[in-house]
Structure formats: structure tokens, C-alpha cells
Subunit: 543 residues, 2 copies
């Protein structure tokens, strides 16, 4: 034995270790689930552990072997959480399927992942019924009674989750796992091409989980009561199910009740301290709270990601409720956490306006995420907060390829960095700001206009609920911005000149849209994960 | 490519990544060092980074190759911190040598580790001078001018640190490292046998660093100003040098000024928020502060470890300064963090007395540390807070063997667990309490008496500054406790009966020492790391 290799235990980083930690040190802590009929289910990590043991036997009994894919089609609830543990702890691969995808996308990914089983909430199973003849590898369905209405026709041969559990053994049987084994797979609902699968390892998820519990990232601790509004079928619910278990935090799982009233009630009654979800959720919640006051005094932090948080939302929550909105940025390809925006200590004394300018950025990359900015020729750009380039990332929880999808793998370059497709700046303090998706950037007179910046500016107008900006071909400028607006009160018209007045304060004359390119619409098209579907908007423009 | 292996980047966990993170995201944050003459040196992580680059070239120029050992013999200061990074980033192995060891121990470990170079503070180099002819592998010395007095004779051929740095290249040259490569080595000053070397890997140190930044462990964050009084030559300074760099926290390095007045001044002036060290340090600081008030209002948390914290110290700091003392437990074999004591949320409403009873335990094992309690036959004991057994641990930052020391490796059993040699209980909440070292436990009438419990009880008497309890052979009881007491005010005698009265409230009659076994002494013998040397006390007893 020489000195080259250290002499530390070869202890793998696995989902099993997270589960056991929760059961050993936090057996009394609660997992609270809201079911489809609005009722509340409560149990503890000790209960979770006992049921995961049984569920592992259920999976074995159904023939699931290490490496097999097991799909979920479910809301955030305790049964979904049980699958989050049981499938990877068995050495099999958890495939969390986005229930909001279109039928042809669902068919594509079930077949592409070659799922053997689908565990579906009863209230959602109807969405699968029409697909059944198309699914080539699925051998059966396990229905989870979430107190929702069952579909008229089941998707196929189906068992009841609770019946299977009741008859399964309760003897602990954890296989030895290697940390580089696959633990789960999630498909990006990419706005271009077919969905692309990202295959996480036990190691990548474990490191991500530790990072979520770090003070300067999500700061998930034992004392917190955490509400992931972000769905467990979307990017690992930003890592919260595992992070809460590792820390022993209480989890509050909202089921299908994601907006306004039920959310306000759940936060108040369960005394939630940290909530996480996309800006739309917080926008709608704020609207609701203005009309229907609730006691949100326990809620300290709202983590928001998925798209840029409008400035007015930061201001509203701070002013009216003393809640800090913290912006995070991530990608399915990154497990998903990439950066998170907290002020540095030196910024605590800054004027509010300057602090807000920092808070509107996506923040400092987390540990385990290395970043660089690439110019159009692939050259590295300086971190001056001005020069925008394509963001490239590297780290142990970043994908090195998509699963079985050679066409899409150009983003994973030979040099070991992943090209995110996001256009960003980095400033001297190390704060990242995503200015656009590469494909959404508007190139006018040879210069870039950030569609995200322009949307934020438009949303600063009090009459505006949502806004989207895309480019159209323009003979003179190359591309010119087109603005779509959804009004807060559709019966109160908004003259285009008012929008232009708002924009003039922030954009150069040559960057402004024409008056005739400012449109008020009833709604904006959305993708399966609730983001504005700019591809659809552009398609409309050219038709 | 199948599904068995996930598709995440193969990004190693290395000390280099920690260094680069500090330089990229926190270049402006400070490292403050107190030098031997009391003066203060300040610079930033950007400065540290530039000097580490040069130091790596210095090491290369001196012929250091990957796997080579480079020893440090220094107080906590910025140059020591530079070595913490430069040596492992080069693929070489940092050997932090405890300056308080006896000459024969020093000779043993320099030779055992086969160090090629020793980097020594000028004020400490004199301790090495007499060893020089004994050191078989050391090729040279690099002296670091800490503004201390240089020895009359140098230990051997010596270079000046700053001169070497000034003439070295400033071109970045980081080798690719594997995370399982050795990064550093530290010897336990074991009270039995020769010192034993623990060989850490980049991976183990990196995971340990992440854990130190988790909210429920040390909670090292960007906003903190951290004072490691625990020496950088002792168990990696509990992981603080790397954790501060990863988080971007300010580091305040106290040099040789570890007690009372200079510590109080440093905490006040640098507005320290978290300090870490052994109970003796905090006991002496408290004594000093009682006579000489200082503004310690910024200090929120004192992390204390190395030996049990007397109850009265918890009470004093909370009552007089609003400072929370948090007890941690660890071992050199564990990198060193094993557990840390924070109250669970449900305990926040408990009566103070009950909370204190929890705080006096060593707390919940951290992530990456699995624990079990073993009875005398090796059977696993329940977690009932009563049954005491030997604590066994497992995890990615626990040693799997001592370096080149087959004799000592019995503690590393075939089943993959490390027997700590600590006797402990675990309660239903998962809190660990170390009741004794296995060799210090007193076996009386076939039952165990915890020497630690009895010492704590004795130290509860206001006249007592320090206490040690060991067992002596006793015809009737097998072993009987013998109590040694150091008085706070040596001129005010303490009748043995008063000590017995204190003990009667907590111990059964058969457990009590005889009056004639209660001794007041001027001081207690200490080991090289400042712990009470019970082996020496027992030796005295039998002589």
C-alpha cells in the first residue's frame, strides 16, 4: 500500500443512505399529503420506511430487476415519495413522467424508456387509457387511490397499490449498490425535437441532496416545514423530496391543489416555512391573497425557478408579507440545481433598489457546478455583468449525454462541458443572470435584445399579468421584438403607448417594438411544464 | 450503453474545486491572520489563490511529486492555509504535524510519514532543531516568518518561504486528480502506543467540507466570520479551512494567541460570528471576560469539541452573552466530524432544564456517518438512551485502516465498521452521548461508572475549575473512582464532603468515591492536544 490512494472507507453515496438516515434520526417527523378530495393524510418517516420496505418486495414480486424502469404518473403525495425511495433502493430506475405532456409525447417517452410498470394516481389514470395500445413495454399498472375519480376504463391490467403492499413481506432487504448505478430518469419536455432523457445516478442525486441542505443554497433543515409545489414529475421536484428526508424536515405535499385558495390554506394550516415553485404559482397566490387574507407569518422563503421572477413579485411579497423570494436556476440536465440567489453579506447595507437588482439575477452557481460563458466563436467571455454568452456548465450532477439519443448530444461537447442553450452574463460578484434562451434571443441590427429583460419590463406595468416577447423577421433590423400581453383585468384596455413608455426607460430606441407589434391576448400558449411556449407563438407569427 | 450505469459527468470531488470556487465567487472575501508579534495580516481569497499558484511551482521546483509528503509545523495563519491547498492540489500529501507532541513522537511521525520537506513557522522551528539528526527523509526546511523569534540554530538547510514564492512562476498549472487520491495525513496522538496515521482522500475531505456547510451541522455560510481556535495541526481544524473557502466565509486565524485576552480582543475587533475550539479555551475565555468585559454581541455560536463541555459553561455563555454553545464530537479517524448537537424543532418548547440535558449530549450523527452501539459480545444495543456500548461508525470520511500500522488495525474490523473505542448511548431521538473512552470506563461491582459523567458533576461545583476521574483497583468493588480536582481559587479550600454532596444527587451510593479518594491538585497532566492525560494519572496511582 503506497501513499497515492487514501485510506478511507469505500462507502457509496446512495438513496438508501438517505432513507435510512430519515428513519433512524427523524422517525417522528411528518409527511403531510393533500389528496384529490381535499382531505389530508399524515404519517411519519418511520411509516414511510416500513412501507418502502414492503414496496420493494412488491416490486420484486412483480418481477422488477436492477436496471429496470418503473414509471410514475402521479401528483406530489406520500405514495409518490415511497416510489422515490423504493425503486432506486432496489437498484431499479425511477421514471417520473410529466402528466402534462401531450399524448404523443407520453407514448414516446414510455416507449423510449421501456418502462415495465406504471404507478398511476387513480385520478390521472384516465390520461393513460387511450395510450394503452401504443405502449410496447408496459406489463401492468398499479393504481394509487388518491381519492380522485377513477377513469371509466382502466389503462390496462391493474393492481391496487394498497392491496399489493398489504400482502408483501416486511423484512428489510436492501441490495448493495454502486453509487454510479442509475437511480432515476427524467425527460426534458424540450420545446424542440423529441423529449430527451436524463439518467441520474445515486451519486449525482446524493451530492445534489447534500447541496440542497447547505446554508447558502436551499438551507433545508430539520426545523423546516417544506412545501414543494414544484411537481415530483418535474426535475426531481428540485431535489426537495430527498433533501427533506436527509435533513429530517417536514414535507407538505399538495397533490393536485397547486393554485390560489387551496395553496393559501395549506400554507397557513401546516405552518409552512419554505415553499418552492414556478413564478406563475406565486403570482396567482398573491392575487388570491389580496382578496382573501391568510396568516402566512411562518412562511419565510419562497424558492422560485423555472422562469425569471418579475420584479413586482419580489416587491409584493416582501412588502405585504415579509417573505423573501429567492430565485433559483436549474435544468433537468443538472438534477436540476444550477444557481441560487442570496445576497452576499456585503450587500446587506446596500440601498433596496440595488439589492433588488441583484435579487433579480439567478445568483451564484452552487457547489459542484462550474460555469463559463462562451462567445460566438467559442471564446471565453469575461465576468463583467455585461457581455452575454452561452452558458456552459460542468460538475458531478450534470449529464454527460442524453439517454439513447445521439442526435441531441451535440450539446455535450468533447471538452467535458455541457452547453446549456441559455444566454447569460456573470458579474464581478459571481452572480449569474440568464438573459435568454439561445433560440429566443432577438438579434436586431447585429445586437442582441434579451426577450426576458423586455418581458420583465412589460410585467412591471401594474395592468399586466403575463407577457411574452419573441422576434419576427424585419427587413430593416434583421429581427424586431413582438410583445404579447395578458391583462390582469381584461375589461380595462391598455394603450400600446403606455407599454412603450415603460420600455423606453430601459431600452434603446432601436430595441423598441413598433406600436403595431404590441398585442393584447386572452392567454399565452404554455408547454407541459407550464412555461410560455415561444415556439408556438413564433409558429403563429409565420402562419 | 445500458441503463445500469447512469449518465452523469465524471467530475471528481477535489480540493482544487474548493480553491477555484473561493477564487471565482468570493475573491473579495478576507482571510485575517494574527501573527506572533500580535500584528494583523489581511488579504483576500483572490490573493490566496495567486499565492497558491506560485506555491505549487515552489513545491515542484523543490522536487515534490504526486504522492510525496510535505509536512507543516505551524500555527493557524494564511501561509498554513496556502499549504492546505497547494500541496493537495499538486497531488502531493499534506502532513499537518502537531507542534505539541513530545520530541520522540515528532521524530517517529516525520520518519513514519517519510516527509520530504517541512514548512515551519520561524517561531516554532527551534522545536525541530534537536530532531534534525534523527529525521531520515527530510531534505530541507522552509521557514515562514510569522514575526516570531527565530531559533538560535536552524533545524537544517532552510529556505525562506517568501523568497521562494517571489521567484516562482504565476502560471496556473493544476494537474488532473482522481478523487480517491490521498490529499493529507494526520496522526492521532493516541494515549496508547505510537501515533497512528490517517490518510484522507480528496473525496473524503470534499464530502466533509460540504457537510460542514449544511444548515444542521456547522452552518458555515458566506456571511459568517469564522474563528477556528482549533489548530490547523489538529484534525484538519475540524474542516473549517476548507468549509470557509467553499462557502466564501471570512476566516480569522489566531496564530499562537489562543487564550483569554488576545482571543477576546480578536473576537471583538473582527466581529467573529462562529468560533470553534476545545472546552478549556472557552472556560478560560469566560474567566477572562468576567474580569474584562468585551463586546461579543456578534458571536452567535461557539462550537466545542474534543472533550465533553461542562454544564456550567453552557449556562454561563447563554446567560451572560446570549451565545449558544454547540457540542460536536469527532475523531481524527473521522476527518473529524461525527456528530453535532442542535435541538430538534420539537424541543424548542421544552423547559430549559430538559433542553440542557439534550445540549450536553454530543448530538445527532451528521450525514455520511452511520452509527451503531455494540455490547460486550458484539451484539447491537437498542437506542434507549440508557444502554451504553462501544460506538462503531461507517461512512465515506471514516478511515478504513491506519497508514502502515498493522498492529493498530484491529479497530477496523472485517465487517466494514470502525470501532471507535468510545462508550456511548443513543436515545430514541437519535442523540449520541459519549459516556467514556473504553479504557477510561470504571467497572465497579460489575456495572459501569462513566468517568465523564462524574467529572461533569464535580465541575458543576462553583469552586472547581477542572476535574478528572479515573478508576483504581479495589478489593471490594473491582474498581473504585478516584477524583482529582483543580480549584478555581487555590487559596480557598474545598472540603471533600462538599464534593460528595454534589455527587450524591446524581450517583448511586455504590458508585461514589471514598472521601479519601478525593484529591485537590495544582494541575492535571495534559496530552499534546490539551486533553487530560488519564494514562499519566493512572500511572501515578500505581507508582
Amino acid at each position: 500500500m503506497g501513499f497515492q490512494t487514501g485510506m478511507m472507507m469505500d462507502a457509496p453515496l446512495t438513496i438508501t443512505a438517505i432513507l435510512r438516515r430519515a428513519a433512524q434520526f427523524f422517525p417522528e417527523k411528518e409527511i403531510v399529503s393533500r389528496l384529490n378530495d381535499g382531505s389530508i393524510h399524515r404519517y411519519t418517516y418511520a411509516d414511510l420506511y416500513r412501507r418502502v420496505i414492503r414496496l420493494m418486495h412488491v416490486l420484486r414480486n412483480l418481477g422488477v430487476k436492477p436496471g429496470d424502469r418503473v414509471a410514475t404518473f402521479a401528483w406530489n403525495s406520500y405514495r409518490h415519495l415511497e416510489l422515490y425511495f423504493a425503486v432506486p433502493c432496489l437498484g431499479a430506475i425511477l421514471h417520473t413522467v410529466n402528466i402534462r405532456l401531450f399524448p404523443e409525447q407520453l407514448t414516446y417517452i414510455f416507449n423510449h424508456a421501456e418502462d415495465r410498470l406504471i404507478f398511476a394516481d387513480k385520478s390521472l389514470a384516465g390520461l393513460l387509457t387511450p395510450l394503452q395500445s401504443e405502449l410496447k413495454t408496459v406489463e401492468g399498472y398499479v393504481l394509487m387511490d388518491d381519492r380522485g375519480e377513477a377513469p371509466a376504463a382502466l389503462p390496462g391490467p391493474a393492481w391496487d397499490y394498497e392491496e399489493l403492499l398489504a400482502s408483501a413481506s416486511d423484512v428489510e432487504a436492501f441490495p448493495c449498490l454502486d453509487e454510479n448505478m442509475a437511480a432515476s430518469i427524467c425527460y426534458t419536455s424540450g420545446t424542440t425535437g423529441e423529449p430527451k432523457g436524463v439518467l441520474y445516478t445515486h451519486r449525482s442525486l446524493y451530492l445534489h441532496t447534500m447541496a440542497c441542505c447547505m446554508g447558502d443554497t436551499m438551507d433545508i433543515r430539520e426545523r423546516e416545514i417544506v412545501l414543494p409545489v414544484v411537481p415530483m414529475f418535474h426535475a426531481n421536484a428540485w431535489g426537495m423530496p430527498y433533501a427533506c428526508a436527509m435533513a429530517g424536515a417536514t414535507q407538505v405535499l399538495p397533490g393536485s391543489h397547486l393554485f390560489g385558495k387551496p395553496l393559501a390554506e395549506l400554507i397557513e394550516r401546516e405552518r409552512v416555512t419554505i415553499a418552492a415553485g414556478v413564478p406563475t404559482v406565486w403570482n396567482l397566490l398573491y392575487q388570491y391573497l389580496q382578496q382573501h387574507p391568510h396568516d402566512l407569518s411562518r412562511l419565510k422563503v419562497i424558492l422560485s425557478g423555472g422562469s425569471a421572477v418579475p420584479r413586482v413579485l419580489f416587491e409584493n411579497y416582501t412588502r405585504d408579507y415579509g417573505i423573501t423570494m429567492i430565485q433559483a436556476w436549474g435544468m433537468t440536465e443538472m438534477s436540476p440545481l444550477g444557481s441560487l440567489c442570496r445576497l452576499k453579506a456585503s450587500m446587506e447595507d446596500w440601498p433596496e433598489e440595488q439589492q433588488l437588482a441583484v435579487r433579480m439575477k439567478q445568483g451564484i452557481p452552487t457547489v459542484n457546478v462550474e460555469v463559463k460563458l462562451l462567445g460566438e466563436q467559442g471564446e471565453e467571455l469575461p465576468w463583467d455583468g455585461k457581455q452575454a454568452g452561452e452558458l456552459a456548465v460542468r460538475g458531478p450532477w450534470v449529464a454527460c449525454a442524453y439517454y439513447a439519443n445521439a442526435d441531441a448530444n451535440a450539446a455535450f461537447t468533447q471538452d467535458g462541458w455541457f452547453r446549456t442553450g441559455d444566454i447569460a452574463t456573470l458579474d464581478a460578484h459571481g452572480y449569474l443572470e440568464i438573459t435568454d434562451r439561445k433560440k429566443d434571443v432577438i438579434k436586431s441590427r447585429g445586437e442582441w435584445i434579451s426577450s426576458v429583460d423586455m418581458e420583465n419590463a412589460v410585467m412591471g406595468h401594474p395592468a399586466v399579468l403575463e407577457a411574452a416577447v419573441v422576434g419576427r423577421l424585419d427587413d430593416l433590423r434583421g429581427e424586431a421584438p413582438v410583445v404579447y400581453i395578458v391583462l390582469r383585468h381584461p375589461d380595462q384596455p391598455l394603450p400600446p403607448q403606455e407599454v412603450l413608455d415603460v420600455l423606453k426607460a430601459r431600452f434603446a430606441r432601436w430595441q423598441l417594438p413598433r406600436q403595431t407589434d404590441i398585442h393584447v391576448v386572452a392567454s399565452l400558449p404554455k408547454t407541459g411544464v407550464g412555461k410560455v411556449d415561444k415556439k408556438a407563438i413564433r409558429r403563429n407569427l409565420t402562419e
